[in-house]
């Protein structure tokens, strides 16, 4: 159903690498929870709501929260780029890439804007209570490990609601300079949730911040039949603190790779996005 699940026998969730020997398998994934993530951004100063569908893949003790299309989008963009540059060179049929990119060879538009989705992947380990944010790029990979003590301070209230048939209870917490309201269900006894959220006696199905800038809402639930694995790229990670990590990600997220095919050359550069996203964590 979701691209990225290339073969029936093995769904690898996480990282950007495609070959098994470049992946480190962390755990089997049992469940996939799809969240619709909406955020109030501004585009050329005008307010817009950007929505995305993100996946929380849950294993027995670990989980990963990511954009399920990101890996495929990157790979597609890479192949398109190769295809276009090969075409410009009056492709040599013996070139080592030809088989891989043949389907993209005609994709030689004048202008392509690569927008591959949300690059940040958030790994959680329920045993060690650590939240690890990872940004994989082709050259370097950065990582930020957190133990979020704020998530020990959830206040559970008596309010209840139903989210796709699951009875949910309300809880509130402050984290990263924002106040959040979460709805969790005891019927799914996993201490996990979208993004970095965890720390409740059941899965968090909905989170909103009190300024209504963000909302995560569970929209789908899928059982993996023993064929899905949470993986991480087997690469050297550069560790940094949260502030540095967020700064880097914001910077990378604020531009798209754009490319032209013109007069036999492929031109590439970055284009600044007109869209400005709100900060989830306000760090002083």
């Amino acid at each position: 159903m979701v691209s990225g699940q290339n073969t029936i026998d093995s769904i690898k969730i996480g990282g950007i690498k495609l070959k098994p020997d470049q992946q480190e398998v962390l755990e089997k994934a049992n469940w996939g929870v799809y969240y619709q993530f909406s955020q109030k951004a501004t585009d050329h100063g005008k307010p817009v709501i950007v929505t995305d569908t993100l996946l929380l893949a849950i294993g027995n003790t670990q989980s990963v929260f990511l954009d399920p299309y990101y890996k495929d989008n990157l790979e597609k963009a890479r192949k398109q780029r190769i295809a276009r540059s090969l075409k410009t060179r009056k492709m040599d049929p013996s070139h080592r890439w030809v088989d891989e990119v043949i389907e993209y060879i005609d994709a030689t538009s004048d202008y392509i804007e690569e927008n591959n989705g949300d690059p940040v992947q958030i790994y959680k380990n329920r045993k060690t209570q650590t939240v690890t944010s990872i940004y994989n790029a082709f050259v370097d990979n950065i990582m930020c490990e957190q133990k979020i003590s704020e998530f020990n301070n959830w206040k559970i209230t008596e309010e209840i609601d139903s989210i796709f048939g699951y009875l949910c209870q309300k809880a509130v917490v402050s984290y990263g300079g924002r106040n959040y309201t979460a709805w969790f269900t005891m019927d799914i006894p996993v201490n996990d949730g979208p993004w970095k959220f965890y720390g409740l006696p059941g899965l968090i199905l909905k989170v909103t911040d009190n300024d209504s800038l963000f909302q995560f809402l569970a929209v789908g639930l899928q059982q993996y039949k023993g064929n899905a694995e949470i993986v991480r790229d087997k690469v050297d990670y550069e560790k940094c603190d949260l502030k540095t990590f967020n700064k880097f990600v914001d910077k990378e997220r604020s531009k798209d790779v754009v490319s032209f095919y013109h007069n036999g050359y492929l031109y590439m550069t970055h284009k600044k996005k007109s869209i400005i996203y709100p900060e989830m964590e306000v760090i002083k």
């Binding site: 899928q222 880097f248 032209f260």
Partner: protein, 336 residues
């Protein structure tokens, strides 16, 4: 007596704790990461909760613990269990059966649309029915899109300006042919690109080249043009090159940007021409991005698409240079 009552009250509200352990019924090994919840007996409101450690143990602490409580253990991998106990019991043990929990699946219908920035992606497969023949049949179903019987496509009641197939504007306005004939099953995604920057900005100025005759041997030409938003992408040095094409021979001159204010450029290339010839002038802009910006962020090893950055260019194609010199234009017109 008063003192005694005071002590009683104190002991009622003092922080109490219940320790415990969760073991697997077959292996008797500890079960980690089990959610342990405590309620007052007969109530659903959670008093406190915790998770078992690596060794299967847990501690439930509460400032306001009634005399008897219900403790329940739950996890994805075990059959859940509850015990009602006296709160002064001190220690409670659960022996649980391993069992993968069954949850009701909810059909994932969300990833049909994905919107980030200006581009709206529709995943065709999620809208596709058996009866759909052409891509037009599918397009009709996409929110915000209308298809007229002629094959014309409206997005939010406005006719679309371009119809790209695999990124190519193959049919140039006659896309109705495509709407009604492209097999829907061959299409993976449909993208709606709003404000397609380069098309909008460069329309008109990029559509054809100009031939200009220069009367003098040496000539200086001032050109003013705006590149629109495209350039705000790059906070880097910008250079312009002018290609002079005459009888298939190319002379390359470098233009200099004398002004770089709010995306508008003034270039004053100095051109040496031979008398009486026609030239086709193309301007190209190139950017040399020093990557210094990226280096500034205190993580020197981190950079992104290194290769792309060192060779990044945006060509500005075939800008028509409209000479301001009136006699020249007149002469051009006379020559037809």
């Amino acid at each position: 007596m008063l003192l005694l009552m005071g002590m009683c009250a104190f002991s009622l509200h003092a922080q109490k704790e219940i320790k415990g352990r969760v073991l697997d019924s077959e292996t008797l090994k500890p079960v980690p990461t089990v959610t342990v919840t405590m309620y007052p007996v007969g109530s659903q409101s959670i008093l406190t909760y915790t998770m078992t450690d690596e060794d299967g143990t847990f501690i439930l602490k509460s400032n306001d613990m009634p005399d008897s409580v219900t403790v329940s253990v739950r996890a994805m991998t075990i059959e859940s269990q509850s015990k009602s106990i006296k709160s002064d019991i001190g220690f409670v043990e659960f022996v649980v059966k391993e069992k993968a929990i069954e949850l009701k699946e909810v059909i994932v219908d969300a990833p049909k649309i994905r919107q980030t920035g200006d581009t709206l992606n529709y995943y065709v497969s999620s809208f596709l029915d058996e009866t759909d023949r052409s891509i037009g049949d599918v397009l009709k179903k996409l929110p915000g899109i209308q298809v007229l019987s002629t094959g014309q496509i409206l997005y939010q009641n406005k006719e679309i300006s371009k119809f790209y197939v695999e990124g190519l504007d193959l049919l140039q306005g006659k896309y109705g042919i495509a709407t009604n004939n492209i097999d829907a099953k061959q299409v993976a995604t449909v993208q709606v690109l709003e404000n397609l920057l380069y098309d909008v900005q460069y329309n008109g100025i990029l559509s054809h080249t100009a031939s200009i005759e220069y009367p003098n041997n040496s000539h200086s030409l001032g050109v003013n043009f705006s590149l629109g938003k495209s350039i705000d992408a790059i906070n880097s040095e910008v250079k312009f090159f002018a290609n002079y094409n005459r009888n298939n021979s190319i002379v390359l001159n470098q233009g200099i940007i004398s002004d770089f204010i709010s995306n508008s450029f003034t270039i004053s290339p100095s051109i040496n021409t031979e008398l009486g010839h026609y030239f086709i002038i193309n301007y190209n802009a190139s950017y040399s991005n020093s990557r210094s910006e990226i280096r500034k962020n205190k993580m020197p090893k981190i950079h992104y698409f290194t290769q792309a950055l060192t060779t990044s260019f945006i060509p500005v194609k075939n800008i028509i240079v409209l000479p301001k010199i009136r006699p020249l234009v007149n002469k051009l017109n006379k020559n037809g």
